[in-house]
């Protein structure tokens, strides 16, 4: 084998190593977040109970017409992104009647990014679309459950874009444009937060 071929093989090997390093060192900054984000409830009793804070979560009112804000205790996060994660994790949990959740069953938070400009990107699993029953009102309520939960609880976030399985999405079920960040809208939300039952720790 000539020196040139060895050089080429060596080059590929070096490139491969760099590539692998970049893939496993650079990308995991995001993937770690994904792993973190999917852990919604600590399975073992933690040594210290997590610090809690109050947050407004959004559910569909009994009459199905709009969202209502409900005060709940959620795990407190140090940075806005950590706080947003805890709020969304709590928001994605199933809820007891008479409240209804506009989040299709099985929807998981995959990852979350917050930009300096105050845009949050909420990456959720495909169930948000595949499990959606359709209808523009229902779709608006699903989308604004996420938009409201993040913008109301994280003051530095101005707008929210929903990504599905890590990619930009068109719509959930054919109506609401998801290609741009959406800001808080009062139309589909009852402004008076109501408390249903005693606060429960997640």
């Amino acid at each position: 084998m000539t020196g040139r071929v060895w050089l080429a093989i060596g080059g590929v090997a070096v490139a491969g190593t760099i590539g692998a390093w970049l893939l496993f060192v650079t990308l995991p900054e995001v993937y770690d977040e994904v792993d973190d984000a999917t852990v919604t409830v600590p399975r073992d009793a933690p040594a210290e109970p997590p610090r809690l804070t109050s947050a407004t979560l959004f559910y569909v009112a009994e009459d199905g017409e709009r969202l209502i804000g409900v005060e709940r205790e959620v795990v407190a996060g140090d940075a806005p992104i950590a706080q947003a994660r805890h709020v969304l994790e709590a928001q994605f949990l199933s809820v007891e009647p008479p409240l209804l959740s506009a989040m299709p069953e099985g929807t998981l938070l995959r990852a979350l990014y917050v930009t300096d400009q105050g845009d949050a990107f909420v990456d959720v699993s495909r169930e948000i679309a595949s499990g959606h029953a359709g209808g523009s009102l229902d779709e608006l309520l699903t989308v604004y459950t996420i938009v409201n939960a993040v913008t109301v609880n994280i003051p530095t976030v101005r707008a929210v874009q929903i990504l599905i399985e890590g990619r930009e999405a068109d719509t959930l079920a054919g109506h609401v444009d998801l290609r741009r960040p959406l800001t808080l809208r009062p139309e589909w939300t009852d402004p008076a937060p109501a408390d249903f039952g005693a606060p429960t720790a997640p």
Partner: protein
């Protein structure tokens, strides 16, 4: 009372409008890379039904080296000390620790690795450390801070006169020179991003084409051409429209006067010929701009969902896609037979059709109205009633389209840890922006007519970020006919009598809207006013 219309505007009613349509990227075979060193072509391949470019072509054009990493199932793309990592399994690229989302992972074909065209605007700029803008509609890849205004050319021809409208985004300084057999519009820019009309030659204009220099546009004159008159109308967000009227005789005085009044922005050079000398004191009634509809001729009815996409479903199995088609067909018959308007259906049968395609059908047919029909659903069986919506614009939408129009912001905005916002996509797809006021007027009429004929939801016409409306280049509304999740309403939505009542309400709405438009032809400033909505 109907206002008397001037004979001139009646003549203009009979004009035929030919408007150029932008080709989507999916139809393009190549992109053109524009940089300060010149232009070169970049082949576009369709891979998995998506426009993609070969990494080897990008490497040659941008001095990149590409290495494959079979172990990690990925690729590294390097330019000097900057590296992009792509994985073959995910639509993500990592650029110096920043993650950028792509519509698909890279794909290996017989011609080597291909990446989605979005890679160019979202990742490549970060690697070569130069802003890169991808202009989807014209297929231009603009490297660096070049001034490349978008020029949408529309052409209208009538008896003895014609009009070329150059819609500029952003407004670019220009001069008009008349040479033998042609008018040259010379823009002060590095290049033009032009969409030309697909009109044939006539006696006034033999053709419209790009000129010999990159920033020139040539209007080849026909045998009957005698004079022209140009007018610049300033729009919102730094946009402008240059109207070039061409005449088979001296320019009619009324046109010259009105143009003078309308011309609030920078004056173009005076016309070389034409009767421009009429005293400005004789003010004629405003001339409706040719590109603003002065009646309703074509209505596009969009039956929501279809094919695999059934939309919402009622408890007894009534499907949204069927209800929307049935009401659409009733409405079509009513409009055609009783109003004599042209009706274009986005679908006349049960088939799948993309949201983009729906707006494109309306745009390509130069529709004057777009009505999208849907049936609603709620988690609760309680909500009922019909409802009309028109597009809401987020503050961010305005900022984003305004930011790009001003030309001062970078074309791609990298965001911390989460990708790159490519601004060109937002703006191009937001054709509805300039029609939102009239869409609101249409929605108010539809709301009133729905109230007269059927049950409606409480509240007025709503504004919502509905995807199908965004790309429609005409007044557009989305009508929810009723709730399939409400058992009583599910029953009546399937009943011919109720469908007829819904169709009646929409028919009356269109008739009333047409009357409104004909009584009060929209003036250009009204049409260009950008609605601002604070959240």
């Amino acid at each position: 009372m109907r206002r008397a219309r001037s004979p001139l505007s009646l003549v203009l009613c009979t004009l035929v409008v030919l408007v150029g349509t932008g080709r989507s990227l999916s139809a393009q075979r190549s992109l053109t890379i524009l940089s300060d060193t010149g232009r070169q072509s970049l082949a576009v391949a369709r891979v998995n039904d998506r426009p993609m470019v070969a990494l080897s072509d990008l490497a040659a054009a941008f001095d990149l080296s590409v290495r494959e990493d079979t172990l990690a199932d990925g690729l590294t793309v390097t330019h000097r000390d900057r590296v992009v990592v792509l994985t073959a399994t995910q639509g993500l690229a990592s650029v110096g620790g920043r993650v950028v989302s792509l519509p698909s992972p890279p794909v290996r074909t017989s011609r080597g690795w291909h990446v989605p065209v979005e890679f160019i605007s979202r990742a490549l700029g970060l690697v070569i450390d130069t802003p890169i803008e991808l202009r989807q509609r014209s297929g231009l890849v603009i490297v660096g801070d070049l001034r490349v205004p978008e020029i949408d050319v529309q052409y209208t021809v009538g008896r003895g006169q014609a009009q070329v409208v150059l819609a500029m985004t952003p407004q670019a300084p220009y001069t008009i020179e008349e040479g033998p057999q042609r008018l040259l519009v010379k823009f002060d820019a590095d290049a033009l991003d032009v969409v030309l009309p697909d009109s044939g030659p006539d006696s006034l204009v033999a053709g419209i084409r790009q000129g010999d220099e990159p920033a020139w546009l040539a209007i080849d004159l026909g045998s009957q051409y005698v004079s022209h008159q140009s007018t610049l109308l300033a729009g919102v967000g730094g946009t402008a429209r240059l109207l070039v009227d061409l005449f088979s005789d001296a320019a009619p005085a009324a046109v010259a006067r009105v143009n003078e009044r309308a011309n609030t922005a920078e004056r173009p050079p005076p016309p070389i010929s034409g009767d421009d000398a009429t005293p400005a004191a004789e003010i004629a009634p405003p001339l409706p701009e040719l590109t603003v509809p002065i009646t309703v001729r074509t209505v596009v009815i969009d039956a929501g969902h279809g094919g695999d996409d059934t939309g919402a479903a009622g408890a007894t199995g009534v499907l949204e896609k069927d209800i929307t088609l049935q009401v659409a067909q009733r409405l079509q018959r009513a409009i055609e037979t009783r109003l004599g308007l042209r009706v274009v259906m986005t679908r006349g049968e049960d088939r799948t059709i993309r949201l983009d395609e729906r707006a494109a059908i309306a745009n390509n047919n130069k529709a004057d109205l777009f009505i999208s029909l849907h049936a609603n659903a709620s988690l609760s069986p309680v909500p009922s009633g019909a409802e009309v919506s028109y597009l809401s614009l987020d503050e961010g939408d305005i900022e984003r389209s305004g930011a790009r129009l001003s030309g001062t912001n970078p074309q791609t905005v990298p965001v911390l840890g989460g990708g790159v916002r490519s601004i060109d996509v937002v703006s191009w797809e937001m054709a509805q922006v300039s029609h939102v006021d009239r869409s609101g007027a249409l929605a108010a009429i539809v709301d009133a007519e729905l109230r007269r004929h059927v049950d409606v939801r409480p509240g007025e016409a709503q504004r919502a970020p509905f995807r199908v409306l965004v790309g429609a280049n005409m007044p557009a509304v989305l009508v929810e006919l009723g709730f399939l999740s409400n058992p009583a309403e599910e029953r009546r939505l399937g009943a011919p009598s109720y469908q007829e009542a819904l169709s009646q309400a929409l028919f009356q709405s269109i008739a009333r809207y047409r009357t409104l438009v004909e009584q009060r032809p929209s003036s250009a400033p009204e049409a260009e006013e950008m609605p601002r909505r604070r959240p």
